[in-house]
Symmetry: C2
């Protein structure tokens, strides 16, 4: 006899889902019991649901297929919501298995009863289903997998009542092979080619899977042949970069900068990306960042095969054999002296090994990361796609599970690290090859900037204390040690480089607590002068335009 959970497990494994990030409770015990019957399913336990969901996100970004999560009712899903939001915004496939009370138990409104579907809709608007019977369960699961891994990838939530899980009569079910994504049609390709040929200045805005090597090469051929600029979305799900790959400039987080970046163009061609909007709204500032004078075209939507569409466009433009401009190898020197956030990034750029995965949730402390790793050996970069902080450490867990042979380096702000600090425990439990670098500046530094940007300059001491996490200063090395992760605290650039070298030479989880001053210290009163500091990481024309604009 096969119960629902056992059949579900088989269905998932048959569909290629081989990892489940778990934080189970009583209602999931039959699913847990079924794990032993499926050697191909790896269960990775987290001590908080936000770790499980963020790990599933990081896994899928690197494995290009979904993992499952196992969550305990509406509250477990709630705890995992923020990182599922990041997955949704990053178009990342995730299959949530959310346990629920037995169907007949719901009416009693027991302690943990809540409206799971409502919560799930926030992150998986495209697929939320409560399985009604053991007989239907596996088809429901196959539908969830199909929904999750189609283009664009999405979060699919399957709610699994305990009795549907434990009842006999489960019948495993095949998940149909993924149908190939459509390519941009000829009319669109031709119109795009015309825009490129006729435009004064044209830029691509690349997002989603167009930021992997094949998409970048295709776009870079067109760029070389037709003088098109390459932009990437602000927070890529996964971007392949480094020496030998075509460089691409990310649209800036700050609306003020993004507007400048786009100001010269009369055509913006979207490839699996949306037209840039401001991250937040600000009084008297525009939300939509594309200038009126710039026409927006769409070559490929997130539903389409962006790489094939770019190649088709290259053919039409005669650019298929053009030589793309690629990033020359160039590493910064070894940093010296008093530690700053910039020197931490410099150490990473100096030491980055071939084929690393960088997870960037360093917020203000990571301002210089892009510039300082631009010519480093080829690597993947994962970023904060949905803006819900607490993504970095869990994402690193998932990336390391997906790619056990690649070193993972997670750069995380101190404030943001605390949301899902429990990820360190899973890193230790699974002996994952992750080096977490925590920038400890004892501040929600970005909020000091934002406080001013929203025009709330009248802020007094009480307000400022809400952005200050220096009383007490968190000792991240101790937190890591408390969860079984080797950790050191560094205060000089020399120590930083040495610690990173050690970590990279000795696989297994490490944490480096980098004690740094705020990157924006002393320049909070005015945003534009502060932007000056970011100029070295920007391409020449933008720097020039910006310098002109803010010159006294």
């Amino acid at each position: 006899m096969t119960n629902g959970a056992q059949a579900l497990m088989k269905t998932l494994v048959d569909a290629g889902i081989e990892v489940c990030f778990t934080n189970p409770g009583t209602s999931e015990m039959h699913f847990v019991a079924a794990l032993d019957g499926e050697p191909k399913m790896r269960a990775v336990l987290a001590m908080f649901e936000g770790v499980a969901t963020g790990a599933a996100d990081g896994y899928a970004r690197m494995a290009d297929k979904p993992a499952a999560t196992l969550l305990h009712l509406g509250c477990g899903l709630g705890n995992g919501l923020a990182n599922l939001h990041n997955a949704r915004k990053g178009k990342v496939p995730v299959v949530n298995i959310v346990g629920d009370h037995a169907t007949y138990h719901v009416k009693y409104d027991a302690q943990l009863q809540s409206d799971i579907e409502s919560v799930a809709r926030n992150v998986s608007p495209g697929f939320v289903r409560t399985s009604k019977s053991t007989g239907e369960l596996c088809q429901d699961a196959a539908d969830a997998v199909t929904a999750a891994r189609g283009l664009p990838g999405q979060v699919a939530t399957l709610i699994l009542p305990a009795d549907v899980s434990w009842s006999e009569g489960g019948v495993p079910c095949k998940t149909p092979a993924q149908s190939p994504a459509p390519v941009a049609d000829d009319t669109t390709v031709k119109a795009t080619a015309d825009a490129i040929r006729n435009g004064r200045k044209t830029a691509f805005l690349l997002g989603g899977r167009a930021l992997r090597e094949p998409g970048l090469i295709a776009a870079a051929r067109i760029a070389a042949h037709n003088g098109v600029t390459l932009f990437a979305e602000t927070f890529p799900t996964r971007i392949e970069r480094g020496a030998g790959l075509p460089p691409v400039e990310r649209i800036a987080y700050l609306a003020e900068l993004a507007t400048l970046q786009l100001s010269e163009y009369d055509n913006l061609i979207l490839v699996d990306a949306k037209a840039p909007v401001s991250f937040f709204a600000y009084p008297d500032k525009d939300s939509y960042l594309v200038p009126d004078t710039c026409k927006v075209h769409t070559l490929a939507t997130p539903e389409q095969d962006s790489v094939a569409s770019l190649n088709l466009l290259a053919d039409v433009l005669g650019a298929r054999n053009a030589t793309p401009v690629v990033q020359p190898a160039a590493c910064p020197g070894r940093p010296r002296g008093k530690l700053t956030a910039e020197k931490v990034c410099k150490a990473v750029g100096h030491l980055l090994p071939e084929n690393a995965i960088i997870v960037d949730e360093a917020i203000t402390s990571g301002l210089m990361l892009n510039a300082l790793t631009a010519g480093a050996p080829k690597h993947d970069l994962l970023t904060l796609t949905g803006g819900a902080i607490g993504q970095g450490l869990p994402n690193a867990v998932g990336a390391a599970v997906a790619c056990p042979d690649r070193p993972v380096i997670a750069l995380i702000g101190d404030g943001t690290a605390m949301y899902t600090i429990q990820a360190l425990w899973t890193m230790a439990r699974e002996t994952l090859n992750i080096t977490s670098i925590i920038f400890n500046n004892a501040s929600y530094s970005i909020l000091n900037v934002e406080l001013e940007r929203v025009g709330a300059e009248e802020a007094g001491d009480k307000a400022k204390s809400q952005l200050d996490i220096s009383g007490p200063v968190v000792d991240f090395a101790r937190l890591a040690q408390g969860m079984g992760v080797h950790a050191v605290r560094v205060t000089t650039a020399e120590e930083m480089a040495k610690a990173l070298e050690y970590a990279l030479n000795n696989p297994g989880p490490h944490l480096i607590e980098a004690v740094v001053p705020e990157s924006l210290n002393g320049v909070k009163r005015k945003v534009l002068p502060w932007l000056l500091r970011t100029l070295p990481s920007l391409p020449r024309p933008v720097s020039k335009a910006l310098k002109k604009k803010i010159a006294p």
Copy 2:
């Protein structure tokens, strides 16, 4: 000029809301800036939203009025959802202020855009409102406070778009005084009195505010006069207990036990409580725990004044002047030898000072807590009302903020502590007089029981590893020290008692990591024999019935 945030702040303070538990982001910056204009509003920062919401819950349980939370969009609310669920189930008033994007920004679907109202409905089905304009904001806030603090208390969620917050034209608004709750009508009181007089055996099931001293005294007078038994709901929001107060037996968590507790009664009278149902569903077991032979009556619903209703009933029964049975003072001796969870509870019972607040989220390790503190000096006990673990440490934060003159002792399981471990940082930041005792048994021990109870005995090593958090064992003392909380790790009963003594004599946050074996170690294969171990904490008749039932 007054902007929306400033007027909102004034409206909240005028309504008696004096504490806001915060974890703000950019969209809340004007609310943060407005803090300095209101000296009466205390802002308590948390490094994770679940801490803020759990603290608001604990605060309101002790202050009998709501605190506000300040949360950042749908993801911040998601992170706070589990503890808001606990507040909802505990009928605890909370006013959520959830920042949102500016109204005009929503259509751009920026990174942090999500459907906040859907998420909010899970925990505040009675009041979710997105404020539409600065002019309407303060009336919206007054409505939210009114909804939250009525009977039953509830979670009210006010969604605050950034432009509604920052625009000028805010007009503070008075919140009407709370209208008195209705009392049970004469017909109901008479019918209840008749049931008591005519029944063979009758029990009260007391919940909500009926578990405070006035309600307990009223019920105990009737118990003494009419031979009625007093039960309390399984997980009270707040129960006053100890020497000099009427003792009341809580309905057991385990359905098997609860059924036995209720088996002798032919009348069960609900007072601000619902008829007992099983926490979870189990194969072939009933969800509804009241025997068919027992008739359920309702004296007072959660919407009604339960104490006044009990007093009215006492009048009708002529019990108003009866002498209630109260708990005699009796403390256990000082524990000695190798540490066990029971000895930790014994140390608490031995040393508990007058007027303490105990927060119990010790799960299996706390089995003996009730018995060992029954005759301790008067204290309040707060429990896990909604079953969403991670409530204890944040609840302690809120209780300590509400009652700065009372010592707070939080007893927390290791698994559960990790969900909201960031609460320790807020304890240090605010120098709260809390002693957190973490039972470190390196296991999700309750799930070992549940795995068997749901009939999943075939569980293999992979399944069992999902309940095992021993690799690595978390070092809670280190975690606490990393967040600025004084901490010790104890392995003997003598060390435990000494550490608790020290903590109680030296106000300020402390953490005691009690290394204990699993309470249920070696007795997992059968649930009923395990129950035997819980017998000393049960009243005589239940023990007898149970012993008879499980005798070999």
